[in-house]
Amino acid sequence: MTLKGEDAVYTAQRLAELINFEAANMPMAFMEVCGTHTMAIARNGIKSLLPECIRLISGPGCPVCVTSNEFLDKAIALAERSDVIICTFGDMIRVPGSRCSLEEQRGLGSDIRIVGSTLDALALADKNRDKDIVFLGIGFETTAPTVAAAIIEAYNKRLDNFSVLCAHKVMPQPMKALSESSLNIDGYILPGHVSAIIGEAPYSFLADDYNKACVISGFEPLDILESILRLVRQVRKGFFFIENQYVRVVKPQGNPTAQELLSQVFEPADAEWRGLGIIADSGLAIRDEYAQFDADKKYQISIAPPIEPPGCRCGEVLTGSITPDLCGLFGTSCTPMHPVGACMVSSEGSCAAHYRYTLRDA
């Protein structure tokens, strides 16, 4: 829903009025699970349009932010090897691990490259047969299919110098944990891109078993406002189901081709989420048939126990327990220029969004 000029202002105000009217002062808390939503909400000042009774909570949907220190430490340990080239998406590079970030490790001479897609990592492997290319596989159902496709291609081409350090995660499982938590979430703004892959069905337990309002939402500010209105209506009626506001992109059944790729290469596994701990079946592990492309198995990396930065409350921010400004480091020792925690690094992190776009007193 892209409107321009005064039409957009009018529609936004009208939606805000409807939300206010229909919420009728009933306190409600909605979580936007996806980091792109967090950013869009902050960038467009959406909270300032909502009545006080509606609280938006940012969830664990920024893939960089939920990646554990252990994963980063492993990646850095691999980067220290002279026969390895690490390929990663850009956001990862500045996240502080236990001892340093990938960016700092690159400054020490490690070969760490930012790539735009897994295919670039494959091409690099093809060109540099004397080096091992390790791709850092992080992200949800949106990025995981492209990594699956790359692994299949590496298999078909017999590229034995390509592997993936895999920390892929799936979205619905942590929402189960969040629904059982003390956060009292009334509903979810469901991630549009993830839903385009997995469709509507994987979320149905949220409505059926937990009585949560659920709307799959687009990313334009008016999409988000409309989704919030639909959430309010579900809560007011006490009738919960998976509603799709983002019909122009998300089909009910999702993208079967991508789902097929995922299940061919990956299998469900327990995964560690920063802030949430280990959640059963919330990760994607590379199947045994493709074990040769699993960097974890290939290198048997051993690292010292990970260290969390003292004072950092990323974990609580990620689970929506606190807002970023309640962390003692926020805006003082932790800023986008000198991030302490992952949530301040990623362009989709809650702390970065809060820091960048919220009207602070100068």
Binding site: M39, S347, Y357
Partner: protein, 339 residues
């Protein structure tokens, strides 16, 4: 051609001996030559019409060297010319320092030298002195350029001080984000192609027209690295004023908007090489805009916001849905998002 191995630059071309001389006489002088440069003296002796001059320097390390809409040569001239021009100086003379990686293709070098010449001609500046070094393969990324520039300051104008005043209206001349997105999306590893072209251009002609319309421009900046958001925040800090932007008034082309969206950027944070921001008194804004729109580099001139009260240095924006938010400076390097 026996002086070039496989038509490439060798270390000897930077050695100061015969091959260096060949490079100068064969590649540089035929294109860039003028009375001053042709003398090949150790330094240029210049005539300046005025006692006050503006002096600036800039180094260029863009990757890739050739990008849609320009190349490192045009960039090296325009960047320095614009730094002089926004201070109200008339750009006159440029130096040209080249650091070339061994093995660099002669044809690429010729092409870059030609575009340096073309940009210098367009801007009306003369390359009066230069230097070339060649470093071993792997010690530089193809070619780095440094240019320094001298401009003459012909009259006293408030713009030399560069302090915005409460009530000023803010004007930009062209759509934002073209250069940064053209360069980023032309990098192979990004894996997608666009039609975005860099806006790299010498703005001294446009600025000259602007200063004819009004001598009361309080501040002018070219919005290069850090984008519009960067210079606005600097303006707000320097003048200790609040700056308020209007999102729908800010010119951004659709292709740039889409590419920014895909990468998680905002056009106001992306680098430009042909965008200037000017603060003008409100009663002179209309005339300024109509004059600017007559110039090829000012066709999309628009008022994008205003300077508010003193005492609260920050930049805010009224979004397209009518809400308000802070515009901060970019922290560190702009990173593509991952999902």
């Amino acid at each position: 051609m026996s002086d070039y191995t496989n038509d490439r630059i060798t270390l000897a071309h930077g050695g100061g001996g015969r091959l260096s001389r060949t490079l100068v006489e064969d590649v540089f002088l035929p294109v860039l030559g003028n009375d001053c440069l042709n003398r090949l003296n150790d330094s240029a002796v210049l005539n300046l019409p005025d006692k006050r001059i503006a002096f600036t320097t800039d180094s260029f390390v863009v990757d890739p060297l050739f990008f849609p809409g320009g190349d490192i040569g045009r960039l090296a001239v325009c960047g320095t010319v614009n730094d002089l021009a926004v201070m109200g100086a008339v750009p006159r003379y440029l130096s040209l320092g080249l650091i070339i990686e061994e093995g660099f293709e002669l044809e690429s070098l010729r092409s870059i030298i030609q575009s340096i010449k073309d940009a210098a001609d367009e801007a009306g500046v003369t390359i009066v002195t230069g230097d070339t070094k060649v470093v071993a393969r792997g010690q530089a990324d193809g070619l780095y350029i440094n240019t320094s520039g001298i401009g003459s300051i012909e009259r006293d104008l408030p713009v030399h001080k560069g302090r915005v005043r409460s009530g000023d209206l803010l004007i930009v001349n062209a759509p934002l984000g073209q250069h940064g997105m053209a360069v980023i999306t032309s990098r192979e590893e990004l894996g997608f192609k666009t039609t975005i072209k860099s806006d790299v251009a010498p703005l001294n002609g446009l600025i000259d027209e602007m200063l004819r319309v009004s001598e009361n421009i309080s501040a002018m900046r070219d919005a290069t690295r850090g984008g519009l958001a960067g210079v606005l925040n600097e303006m707000a800090d320097q003048g200790d004023v609040q700056i308020i932007l209007d999102e729908i008034a800010i010119p951004v082309n659709e292709d740039v908007h889409i590419a920014c969206d895909m990468l998680g950027f905002e056009a106001i944070h992306v680098a430009n090489e042909g965008v200037l921001l000017a603060a003008v008194p409100p009663d002179e804004a209309d005339r300024m805009i109509s004059t600017m729109r007559l110039h090829p580099y000012g066709r999309h001139a628009a008022v994008i916001g205003e300077v508010g009260d003193k005492g609260r240095a920050r930049v805010t924006m009224r979004t397209h849905i009518g809400t308000h938010r802070v515009i901060d400076v970019l922290s560190g390097e702009q990173l593509p998002r991952i999902c």
